[in-house]
């Protein structure tokens, strides 16, 4: 419940405040979102499987975002930033789909 409230408040702040993202952060923004979504879907799946743990969720959320951002940063330094971003997004998207499939199996048994 608090999570949903937090999400709505975050969206509201983003729309009303309209923060300007610093230029150096812009390549990391989409990656960070996808990484966070991966953690959210993982957490939701764990919730469905009744093995949800607050600590694991928080740590996986933060580490996912940090590692994804670090990989893209590393890719930028190596001159393969665009490819690295694509790679990270593809892997995370695959995980999201896998988690979504697991959630769907539990929810609808289909």
């Amino acid at each position: 419940m608090i999570a949903i409230i937090g999400l709505l408040v975050g969206v509201a702040i983003g729309i009303l405040w309209h923060p300007v993202v610093p230029l150096w952060m812009q390549p990391y923004l989409p990656i960070a979102i996808v990484a966070a979504l991966d953690a959210v879907f993982g957490g939701f799946r764990a919730l469905m499987e009744k093995r949800f743990d607050d600590r694991i969720f928080v740590v996986s959320f933060l580490s996912n975002v940090v590692i994804a951002a670090f990989l893209v940063f590393l890719g930028d330094q190596l001159g393969v930033g665009a490819q690295m971003s694509t790679g990270v997004v593809v892997v995370l998207a695959m995980r999201i789909f896998a988690n979504a499939a697991a959630i769907r199996r539990i929810l609808f048994r289909a």
Binding site: I2, G10, L29, A36, L47, V58
Partner: protein
């Protein structure tokens, strides 16, 4: 029904989602707040006016920049020429103004087709014994030549001007009501190389003529003469 796993799951899910203001839940709420903030910021970002350039690749941007630079150079050159002309016309004698007016009149006559034109150009012959080349093909050819910088053109014995029309009739294509005849001859005055290249691009006019079983030939001429004119009208 308590042994139904799906029911069980959704019930415990509701319990999990219930309002429990303890520390871990607040942390999770905070993380979701950050996520919502990120998403809304990322989604709102492309509202900027320069959004198309934001996602363009570096090579494309360089290409666009080059194009803009070249265009600027051209426009600056034209601006310089016109400024010079303006100065001449303002300070110079009547003769100079008259000469400039004559020059423009001559250019306009060439474009409007009321005067014969001589110059380098391209002579095109389309040998089409089966009559497979129809009006759209000829319109394409004329359009392609115009794009390639043709100043004056004639199809058969008809001068091509701004209101020239092509039509398919029972006895072949007509241009302004005159049959084009066979083989079709197109004369175009302009840069022969540019026009030749424009016609012979893959899938272009030459290709479409040949796929219809007709023969397409074009040769550059240094002193091409288009003597046919249209009568001068005063409107």
């Amino acid at each position: 029904m308590t042994d139904d796993p799906a029911k069980e799951t959704s019930r415990s899910l509701l319990a999990q989602l219930a309002f429990q203001p303890n520390r871990p839940h607040l942390v999770i709420g905070l993380l979701f707040l950050v996520l919502g903030l990120l998403v809304s910021v990322a989604v709102l970002r492309p509202g900027d006016a320069d959004a198309p350039w934001r996602t363009a690749r570096t090579e494309d941007l360089v290409q666009i920049l080059d194009d803009l630079g070249a265009r600027q150079d051209r426009l600056e050159a034209e601006s310089a020429r016109l400024t010079l002309l303006q100065g001449e016309l303002e300070s110079g004698s009547t003769a100079q103004a008259l000469a400039e007016a004559r020059r423009r009149l001559e250019a306009l006559r060439v474009v409007s087709g009321t005067t014969p034109v001589v110059g380098p150009g391209l002579a095109i012959t389309i040998d089409d014994p089966e009559g497979a080349v129809d009006a759209p093909v000829l319109v394409d050819a004329i359009q392609e030549l115009r794009d390639a910088g043709a100043e004056a053109m004639a199809v058969g014995s008809t001068r091509v001007v701004v209101d020239t029309w092509f039509a398919d009739t029972g006895n072949g294509v007509e241009v302004d009501g005159v049959p084009v005849g066979s083989p079709i001859r197109i004369l175009a005055i302009g840069d022969p190389e540019t026009m030749g290249a424009a016609l012979s691009i893959p899938g272009g006019v030459a290709d479409s003529v040949r796929t219809r079983g007709a023969d397409f030939a074009s040769s550059p001429v240094t002193d091409l003469r288009i003597s046919v004119t249209v009568p001068e009208t005063s409107n």
